[in-house]
Symmetry: C2
Subunit: 244 residues, 2 copies
Amino acid sequence: MRIHTDLTPAESYQDVVVLVDVLRAATVAPLLFERGIDTLALTPSLRSARGAAREGWLLLGERQGVPPEGFNYGNSPAELAAIDFTGKRAVVVSENAPRWLARVAGARRVLLGSLYNAAAAAEAASRQAQETIALAACGFEGEPDLDDTLGAGLVAAILGERLPSAVRSGATRFAMSLLRAFPDPMEALWQSVAGHALRRVGLERDLAFAAQVSASVVVPQLVGQQAGAGSAPLYLFAPASRPS
Amino acid sequence: MRIHTDLTPAESYQDVVVLVDVLRAATVAPLLFERGIDTLALTPSLRSARGAAREGWLLLGERQGVPPEGFNYGNSPAELAAIDFTGKRAVVVSENAPRWLARVAGARRVLLGSLYNAAAAAEAASRQAQETIALAACGFEGEPDLDDTLGAGLVAAILGERLPSAVRSGATRFAMSLLRAFPDPMEALWQSVAGHALRRVGLERDLAFAAQVSASVVVPQLVGQQAGAGSAPLYLFAPASRPS
């Protein structure tokens, strides 16, 4: 087995790819399933999301820290954690992880990983992979960022315990080296560019939420796409099955 | 002014690019000028280097920690620091920084930077740049590595003091965040993939040498190319002029 890491997503993936977006899509997605959601979609397209709203989907998302017009909720895990979504369908609109889904959707398995579900993501990836587990950090606006590199490093470190003979790429070892440098993940989130952006709009509490390590056992897995009214489809997610 | 960082070199650069290779080419090159060398060339091609040897150039380089046949010296700064190169011409063969020179050579100015000459590299870059200073970390075998990311972060931090209004890219801020995480640069070199490779062949002392911060005021600058007998040219370097 090989464990490969990209600090921003590469052009394509074959086997299993874990898309890592700590702040915030890959933290919000497991949380929504914990809060009872039935069907979850991610999309970068406001228009596709609004089209889905006409079919009864809830809309979640933010622009500059505020839900766009017509949206039911923001994208703050600290806020969403208090809401019961039992039986609901929701579309999360965000500009980071969803825009990468077009690129990674061709892989055999696409999982969402973060600090919040790190151990479960590593478990699911190691169970599903045939040859290679790719950890694709989303970064921020097309550049590597600290939060997702640390997240990839944590998933890689847990994978390393499960698969001690796996070959780890240079970037994988680089990401893992950040774990020792930032023993408190909150410090890394605080220094990250994504963290700065959230702090600027008063969402410090999302950093604290996202810094929780392996608090969730839910691993969202891409299960399909649905054409949207806008420039991008709805990417449909369901929890990866857990070992019984 | 903009300060841009790539954790491995990008396709091309326009203005000033600082190629960062802490372990070891961008540490060795300033050292050789300090030791009196007259003309310095870098190349990734053993054959081009051997062609130059027939014209009287000294050959420096290592494969797995040992100088190849016909080479005068290795590539260990800890060893080279004891040698007087006054008036000599030398070709350094290495597989990392020199192979990226083909890619970056089109920039208006190409400088070599490391921890060892960080302050001087920042000074030269800020003096020469018109719009953008790009810090191109060489990484290891095509992947980001800790030593060069930290080196880029240090040059960026010094640039930030000189150019407080410069716009810093996300990856620049990412690299700078490692400075706080690794207050002792030796710790970062020790954990880097390049550092592991050197430790495996008994060259720990090169890590200690390369961890010296701003010990050199020499900034090697690309001044030309000379066709070689092999697959790559000799890239010719001279010290960037210093402010008087």
